[in-house]
Amino acid sequence: MNEVIREFLLETHENLTQLDADLLTLEKDPAHREALASVFRTLHSVKGTAGFVGLVKLQAVAHSAESLLSRLRAGELAFNREIATVLLGVVDSIREVLRAVEGDGSEGSGDYTALIGHLDRLRESPGATAAMPAPASNPVPPSASSPKPLPVVPPSPTVATSAITSVNVVSPTLTLPPKLFPPDSSTETRTSVVSDTSLRVDVRLLDKLMTLVGELVLARNQIMQFGTYQEDTAFHGTVQQLNLLTTELQTNVMKTRMQPIGNVWNKFPRVVRDLSVACGKQVRFEMDGQETELDKTIIEAIRDPLTHLVRNAVDHGIETPDVRMASGKSAEGRLLLHAFHEGGKVLIEIADDGGGIDPQRVREKAVRSNVVAADEAARMSERELINLVFLPGFSTTEKVTHFSGRGVGMDVVRTNIEKIGGTVDIESQLGRGTTVRMKIPLTLAIIPALTVTSGGERYCIPQVNLLELLRLEGEKAAHGIESMHGAPVYRRRGHLLPVAYLTDLLGIASNRIASAEVNIVVLQADDRQFGLVVDAIHDTEEIVVKPLQKQLKGIAVFAGATIMGDGRVALILDVLGLAQRAHVVSGVRGRALAEKSPEGTEGAAVERESLLLFATADGGRMAIPLALVARLEEFPQSVLERAGSREVVQYRGEILTLLDVCQELRRLASNRNGESPTERNWQRAGSTPSEGNSQVVVYAGSEPRVGFVVGSILDIVEEEVTVRSRANRPGVLFTAVVQGRVTEFLNVDALIQAAALELAPAP
């Protein structure tokens, strides 16, 4: 296909959309002169180029249409519905011819003589309204309604969402504010109305510019670093100047690649209309935030997922009018596309007020198709269940789609969104509708990232995954990270945060000094959080993401590489990849311990078992079988309340009675000796790592539940308990050696029974 035809196709495709819109405007408002002028200009330019490139049929059709339009423009005819229909027919036939040209270069086999005849008949008709004789010499007579020639707004360039695949190296015309145009007095010039304010630029050139700016940013960073060793103020001034200019240049070059999201959306009204007609549904389609801008590559990446979601919403989400009426809704369904900026990202919502997703049926289906285990599914929240539709294998089954409303290809939607660093999430209320929410980064090429060091190398962590930075010093550094059966965890504001060491994940030696402070970078991967322990944390800077070569493609923990200010290369960590390697993310599961633990019995009976080791407030070392532990919690003093002689805490919708192990053991001992129970005199051991907070072991076995207050959690170990001796005080089962130290095994039942005498019977 030669260049002229290619250009012609591209331009005409853009113009046709505008033509449709203009004709519809005219149908509503026949006196709309701007629209008329725009239609005239477009058809004129189609005619001109068609003749130039030898498309005879197209030229003939455009010519007849143009003749009719010139009479309309002269005011000799009034625009009416019939004319609109015929002119819309012209637009359709132009499309038809263009398609044929794209296909095989010919004009196709269409016969347009009837159309041309119709156009000519209309032109010859005396006109529905009293035709005013127009002076032939003046093609644009000033009409009463427009005392001076009206400026013409050029058709806003629309993106070629067209099927011209062969020309997609040419970028759609960049949208610039439409400039007012002088009245279209001459019909001779081949009017390219946008050429004054915008240029067509090859995307490869923009990409090249982007790369160069990336290099410039790096050079700037290097110079700035170099500048810190210089005393010369003049040099500093120049460096500052360079810094500002580079930043501005970078911003503007990035802007050249920005496009309004409306460019993807503008085909949706048609998609929705056609699909709703085909499904026999009534859908009111609304869009909000079309002007929200995104990088071109991202716009392209979200085009398919968005189309898919919009189709899904009409096809499965919104019900047929009778069903809607029956459930008390208006016959017309509502579909809303909404885009807006939030925190350096773009949020896109696709919301419908349709039938929603039934979590129970998703659960059934998920279990039946072995996507999740039955017990797992039983524990999942509605939200988790609904988000199961994103799992591959789940979505491809027909059955799911027709009941759940959403399915086919949802995993593909998620994969595509995640590929560009976005996230997607569904919220649905049965009978009320479904909202799919996407979070998309603005651009991919240059991102803010945190630099860290581990094992002597620097690594960059994209800022988007970053939640917070924690630094443990002194005592905390030594004991802050605890071991839960070998899995390191950190208590962050009362919750256990799984922790992974970057050096372990990467299989490299750490340079960390054992006593030094511990740096934890808290990261978000999918919907999970985890802490990454690194040797040192540096600052945040803008980095230019470069892809890794194929020799390194298979390593999931790296997202790419970048060149740092000092010219050396640093690897960019892929947080999701890290999380998978650390087993933080691997399917859906709860955090509770008890549900995973094997059936537990009294410690003595089991040979090798998992034990929770803890210190009592008076410094004793005790153990209970891990199987008896539901959870480990940490409560601040402020939430502890009193009920009778004991402390209680509101916990997960119930009242959890707290038994202080130290206290209860003393109580038991004094009961046996016939003494009256001693007044509580809590003394916390001075060495408790979390000052003021109560470390509580929630017991799994009793009803109502109780929590044991301990001094501190020491460790979780799996050990064969061999050396043991008889207990020497009540409340203790036996004494054994665990981890080389004498440890008392708490008789949980004895403590609870003793306490139960005083506890109110469960209601």
């Binding site: 790096l218 190398e457 070569q549 020799q551 390194l552 790296f558 050396r568 290369v569 690897l571």
Partner: protein, 144 residues
């Protein structure tokens, strides 16, 4: 001349190798590298080549030869591949040699293992053999 070929030559231990000179972009001295954890041991690291990030492969390891001593700094031969530039770390650089096609011979059956995959053949020079590497296969670690 049509039957003459130019090769960029280099040494690995006592072996004499050649790479098609048209594939070689440049020779640079040893650079500080950024290690890539979890990568194949052949990958020694990443270097910054004028703003371009280039993967450096150790040709000794690629050919399953023993590592050079730590004090012996290798040299980078940067070769062009479909996937951008890749650096090959070698012991020492030789001359660019023009050799005549008539002296080329394909490897015998007795050449086994990884060498058979990567060595296209040898030119019989005076007193020694110039082993010709397949640049494309050498940088492809897919089956490694």
């Amino acid at each position: 001349m049509a039957d003459e070929h130019q090769y960029c030559t280099f040494y690995l231990r006592d072996l004499y190798f050649g790479l098609d000179v048209l594939k070689v972009q440049e020779i640079i001295s040893y650079q500080e590298m950024t290690r890539v954890p979890l990568a194949s041991p052949v990958v020694r690291g990443l270097i910054n080549l004028r703003g371009q990030i280039v993967t450096a492969l150790d040709l000794r390891r690629r050919l399953e030869l023993p590592d050079r001593s730590p004090d012996q700094l290798p040299v980078n031969i940067v070769v062009q591949t479909d996937d951008g530039a890749v650096s090959l770390l070698v012991d020492e650089i030789g001359d660019v040699l023009s050799v005549s096609e008539g002296d080329f011979e394909r490897p015998p059956e007795t050449l086994q293992g990884i060498a058979r995959e990567l060595i296209l053949g040898a030119y019989k020079l005076d007193g020694r053999l110039l082993l010709i590497l397949d640049a494309g296969r050498t940088v492809n670690l897919a089956n490694h």
